[in-house]
Symmetry: C2
Subunit: 382 residues, 2 copies
């Protein structure tokens, strides 16, 4: 063994009970001995991404959250509405580990040369259950970080970086020439700004606050539209005309913004149309909803002709579509640029137990732009 460990480790769990109660707690789980091609990673950093919070909170009403247990082994319970329970039927009664991605040090390795080569290396991994002290994983799934990279710096190598690369990749695959992005001042949004600048891709950023306009302009964004501005629609049309963007990625989901984007794309398309078409422009306009920051219903007026599509977008189907080799190239690009293009910022680092404190949940659970937490599952435990 490369490190002192008891063979047991803490793991954060999310359990949705039949009676409509969400229970968050820490379980003590055994870390298996790695097989020949496997390694054990001591997780030192794992981000709390919006995609993690869906699994973590099970759409519970966190205003009803109550704390119990002890400081070292806290328990949080909250109520889940009956309508939500139907949608969540598949996970009821199963105590689920959480955490899509993370980074840490390989402390044990199987007998194969590939596994042995990783011993002591700082690696980034993807695959769930990262809010754990120790994570058993295939050696081939480890992305070795460049020397001098900390686990905290490498914690977010997959979800956000591959998502922004997936957005630009989808744009190319589906024949669009520029992008629109909402909630654009997020960590992911800032990454997309940097990637589009680097790759020369036109990008229209939509935010809700002047400070976010300023933030994105400062990192080099050309087009930033404030949806709370009285000139928002005109600003958006101008930016769409300037970039030719006909593909939007929407992190918000609920409300009217998605439809407004499609309507503005239609106005932009008709600017250059030569004759009236009763079914609207023949320019294909696509909106992909990849997040659900606003859980309210999606509403739109269909005032954008007939040549449009709205759909869900997920990273994994995109990765499958491009194939193993192309995906590996994307991962290598992320590792090489993890301190520049794909750098993430966190406002706070917490332990597993701290992540289950109500005062912390109240902050990171809001998913406010600029607030991003990093879990260090071994904080205070080593």
């Amino acid at each position: 063994m490369a490190n002192t460990r008891t063979g047991m480790g803490l793991q954060l769990r999310s359990l949705l009970k039949q009676e409509g109660i969400l229970e968050l707690s820490l379980a003590s789980v055994a870390t298996p001995q790695p097989g020949a091609d496997e390694v054990i990673v001591r997780i030192d950093a794992s981000p709390l991404n919006p995609s993690d919070m869906g699994l973590l909170f099970a759409a519970a009403d966190m205003t009803t959250a109550e704390a119990s247990g002890t400081a070292a082994s806290p328990v949080v319970t909250a109520k889940v509405a009956p309508a939500v329970m139907t949608a969540m039927a598949g996970r009821v009664g199963e105590s689920l580990p959480v955490g899509n991605e993370g980074a840490g040090v390989v402390i044990e390795a199987g007998a194969s040369p590939a596994a042995q080569a990783l011993l002591g290396k700082t690696v980034a991994i993807l695959g769930g259950a990262m809010y754990s002290q120790y994570r058993w994983i295939q050696a081939a799934q480890c992305l070795v970080l460049p020397p001098g990279t900390t686990a905290a710096e490498g914690a977010s190598c997959f979800v956000n970086p591959l998502t922004v690369l997936g957005m630009v990749g989808t744009m190319r695959l589906e024949g669009h020439k520029a992008l629109v992005h909402t909630a654009a001042a997020s960590n992911l949004g800032q990454m997309l700004v940097k990637l589009c600048l680097e790759d020369g891709v036109g990008l229209v950023n939509i935010v809700r606050k002047q400070e976010h306009v300023d933030l994105l302009k400062k990192i080099g964004a050309t087009h930033v539209c404030n949806s709370t501005s009285p000139t928002f629609r005109e600003d958006l049309v101008e930016a769409l005309v300037a970039t030719g963007a006909t593909l939007a990625f929407d992190a918000i989901g609920g409300g009217r913004l998605g439809g407004q984007i499609l309507a503005a794309m239609e106005v932009a398309a008709n600017r250059t149309a030569k004759e009236y078409s009763r079914y609207g422009s023949t320019v294909y306009k696509q909106l992909y909803i990849y997040g659900g920051l606003d859980r309210s219903q999606t509403e739109f007026n269909r005032n954008f002709g007939m040549t449009w599509g709205i759909g869900g977008w997920l990273l994994l189907p995109f990765i499958k579509k491009i194939g193993v080799e192309a995906a590996q190239k994307l991962r290598e690009r992320v590792a090489a640029e993890i301190k520049t293009t794909f750098a993430s910022r966190y406002t706070r680092e917490v332990s597993l137990a701290e992540a289950l404190q109500l005062k912390e949940i109240a902050v990171y659970g809001k998913q406010a732009t600029g607030e991003k937490y990093l879990i260090n599952p071994n904080k205070g435990l080593l």
Copy 2:
């Protein structure tokens, strides 16, 4: 000349004026001499399809309609809301002919053998401006109706028949195995029921009234769900499980039905799922909106995972996609089955002048299921 005509003919026109007024009237237009490959068709029957009414009424508020002019040359005016004017900017000031499809007798033909062969034949044609006494058209665009077929029987050879064939064709192209259809008791809906029965395609029909359930059951429909029934959601899920339908064509557009269909598809898909997936089922669910019977906004809750799409659907892009040869085969099938699978029913036949009477507009403008008008542009004029 094969027939006595003055060289002039009446043509119904729709004009949207800058000041927000829609004006419907009859113009007298010259019929050109046909070129070598062209013919003149005396239009004896042309349906008032929902897709025609979009162009005809320009989304005007027809409760404000006023009549003027004379009985032989009526004029109808109505107000158009400012918001609509923006969407219609491309057609403002242009006096547009209306009528997608029709049928009639070839009364003049150019010198080419193909054109001459059509003289005296009853043909069906597509291409706009069919609410005209005479229509100049390429000989190659004429679909010759089987002997013994009247113009009224052949008036609707394209829009509805090719649309239902396009729905089944899209289902096959995009890898779905059965269909859902809304407003399913319409002329088009009944045609789809007959086509799916003939082709052995599973079909879930959604209607709003018990009498429409009865009507569709009578013509052989297996699955008919009444959206006003208290057991609608359960009924729909059962029908989706039974058919495996993951593709829906929606004629309504506005409201919540489209989202309910996707949600029911998700429930049906999860019935057979083996483990919980946080992003919902991986079964792709598609809703195509091909009409706008309900002009209100579209609303949905996104309670159907991430593997879904909503989009506009139009016949012409489908026809282009399958290519000339495949499209010609579809047309020939329609002609061969125009009195059976693709038969249409009309509640009333009107002249061009009658089509502009307020009392008639009040009936056909409602687009109520079971009410369908046929225009005979030469009624009372020959």
